[in-house]
Point group: none
Amino acid sequence: MGYTHDMALPRFSKLSADRRHRVIAAAAAEFAARGFKGAVLSTIADKSGMGKTSFYYYFADKADLCETVLDEAWRRLSASARVELEKLTAETFWPTFEKVARENLEMCSREPWLLAASKLLNRASPQQSDDTVLDAYQEKRRAWEAAYISRGQELGAIRDDVPTDLLVTISLSARQASNLWMLDRIEGLGSEGSSHLALHVFEIYRSLLSPPAAGIDPHDADGAAPGAEPPPRRHAPGA
Amino acid sequence: MGYTHDMALPRFSKLSADRRHRVIAAAAAEFAARGFKGAVLSTIADKSGMGKTSFYYYFADKADLCETVLDEAWRRLSASARVELEKLTAETFWPTFEKVARENLEMCSREPWLLAASKLLNRASPQQSDDTVLDAYQEKRRAWEAAYISRGQELGAIRDDVPTDLLVTISLSARQASNLWMLDRIEGLGSEGSSHLALHVFEIYRSLLSPPAAGIDPHDADGAAPGAEPPPRRHAPGA
Amino acid sequence: MGYTHDMALPRFSKLSADRRHRVIAAAAAEFAARGFKGAVLSTIADKSGMGKTSFYYYFADKADLCETVLDEAWRRLSASARVELEKLTAETFWPTFEKVARENLEMCSREPWLLAASKLLNRASPQQSDDTVLDAYQEKRRAWEAAYISRGQELGAIRDDVPTDLLVTISLSARQASNLWMLDRIEGLGSEGSSHLALHVFEIYRSLLSPPAAGIDPHDADGAAPGAEPPPRRHAPGA
Amino acid sequence: MGYTHDMALPRFSKLSADRRHRVIAAAAAEFAARGFKGAVLSTIADKSGMGKTSFYYYFADKADLCETVLDEAWRRLSASARVELEKLTAETFWPTFEKVARENLEMCSREPWLLAASKLLNRASPQQSDDTVLDAYQEKRRAWEAAYISRGQELGAIRDDVPTDLLVTISLSARQASNLWMLDRIEGLGSEGSSHLALHVFEIYRSLLSPPAAGIDPHDADGAAPGAEPPPRRHAPGA
DNA sequence: GATGAATGAGCGTTCATTCAT
DNA sequence: AATGAATGAACGCTCATTCAT
């Protein structure tokens, strides 16, 4: 649906919507599935019904193609979600984002290319990606996350008892993981299903960021009676 | 420190502890830094003071080497942590794992190769890694996570209001992200510092899994009056 | 200024003088700067404000384009110099060519495209160029050189004591090198400067071809006592 | 004949003399025939009986290979010619270089690889080569030429009435051209033939650099009556 | 008459892996 | 037990050239 570009060589924007779509979709799928380095240009070419070298007519190079996909997805996903942080209140904060999450998920379930692209977007582990392209996006994303968390803290909607840096990191990764999890599952679900799913996930995500319930000291795992249990079987690495 | 293997060609276990160590350490560093595909065998060879071809004497192939590193780390990390799930009680559940987390982090801060290996272990995004090797490990790890979460639920220590599958996913990713975050920071810290850090992080992680505080309905974002705010500036992609 | 063609597809001559000029100029610059193989058609296209594919409307292929430039330059340079060998005498021989040299250099300093083209013309090492196109030109040029040297010999203006073939080769190369040297320097100079320069260069060139001063036997490096000198420092490859 | 390297990866020096030889020879031939850019690695590989990728075991890249050839040739050619400029006298100056020229030419006629390499060495037109590698060599060579010409001028063996810069340029190019000319012809000749040839060429080269015979003013092409000649036939571009 | 779009052939380079010793 | 040497398969990218309009 309607791409507008400032990445990629300007020619790309002149392609018919259909071809543009196929290219983006094929690239998104390949990059999502195999990462930046792993993705093979010929594969994308084949899938998009385009000669391998034609990419170099539309894009500067592999990285540019990848960036274009990323941009496209980011733009699409933000479109429905131009949340204005400053206008949010304590009451609207969570509901707003829940709505965004739901809408975006539905969008992904409706537009297959977006699904793939979204997977790509949620892929890059912070700190350690394939290449600079994905890293750059992680940065962008993290910046947004930081802004929104910070706003949430002002409003008292997000916990304040933890280094923000850390909170951002965890929030981001939890979101990415859960997004990925959902994206892997919506293929069958209708949009109602998606919506329902998003709710569940959002709830748990929210509890991660919400201020800890007052009066509860996390450290005394206090109370209640233990129940001695059977013999051990497993080991548990923690780090 | 004392590797025992069932991965890798059996010959590897006959190497002197020192050489084995150097190999593992070099491989861990390279794999952690550049991922499975990105890692270059020659580099590992150089760093480990071993001829490139010798790897094929000790390991079946690149994947096998990587797996060996992974195994080694997993083993080391579990060693101090042979938690016996069945023996845990509601009271010991969280404290036990907090202890494990702390201990493991300290271990990593003491043994550099383990630090690298641990990064590797925490790297692979579920579902979408470089290669099958890391995926396999994700599986293993996920299995453990599932077992432990399930036990926590039995004990009432872990929330039950969400698809376990999803809970596992998020828990895993949050742990990985926070581990990575810590591992990237402990280089300077002493073991006390590490320990302190681990506590913070664990606390937030725990709040993620703990049953939602009773009486709080997350969904009614109820009450209070909104306050209209300044002009908008940002957009927020949600998926 | 006024191109007439027999190279290139006939269509080229129907282009407006201005467009023709731009094409030739752009091509000359690119070919001169990067050689036949190194020159990139797109670059020429961009510089000449012409679509890349239009070249194939006007020229058969890259070689044809290059040839056209070469022809153009050759023609222009000969235009002022339709020396009629047969009319030359011993007295007019050298002065005539000196004049030609001076005039041509001035022309190059006045018409930038000619400067570039001239560099191209003087570029190709005999025997070993990029491609057949330049080689062909070398041939043409060599033929002229041979004719003119032969005439000079008839008139006693050019030495006769050396295989003509060899004389032609050296003459050609020395001319090319000195032309190149001058062309690289005239950018700043006015036409007087150019003229002056040409004189210097011509003088040395002439001494190369002139019959050796009588009575001097080059081979008896005769006479005198050697003088032992200081310590050595350098080596000297000769071929 | 015994290569010693500081270029190329150190491994190359460990190759058997024979293989080293074949590689150098094949590379020299290809580079000489098609220039740096034009040379195709696979071709060299085939000719030298080596897998294409093996080059990357011995050389850093294409440029490194080329440089190695160049170095080898330069070294070989200088070996027999460690002329010590400071020890030369007016009497020994020209004879010395004549000897060097003769010896080097003979060497080339005896060692085919050197012939090819020598062609390569004499190929690069100053100012405008394929790539930086050849340019660098031109520089080196020019430096030597300048040193030797300057010494010749001190001794009165080389003319002083022309900008040195120009003299160097012309000298270099004339030498290169004549070398090339000879190299292309010695294939059949024995070493006596080569020697004889070298003499001829050297003589003309020498007359180029020697101080102009006193008492002759080149500019007054004086004397005699012109004789009008037949009709013209040719044109003569000068630049 | 002119050009945007598309492509095939080919090149340099990388790297895991095997061979021979 | 160990490794230097060699290589095949593959990939990203360039560029002259052609196709369709």
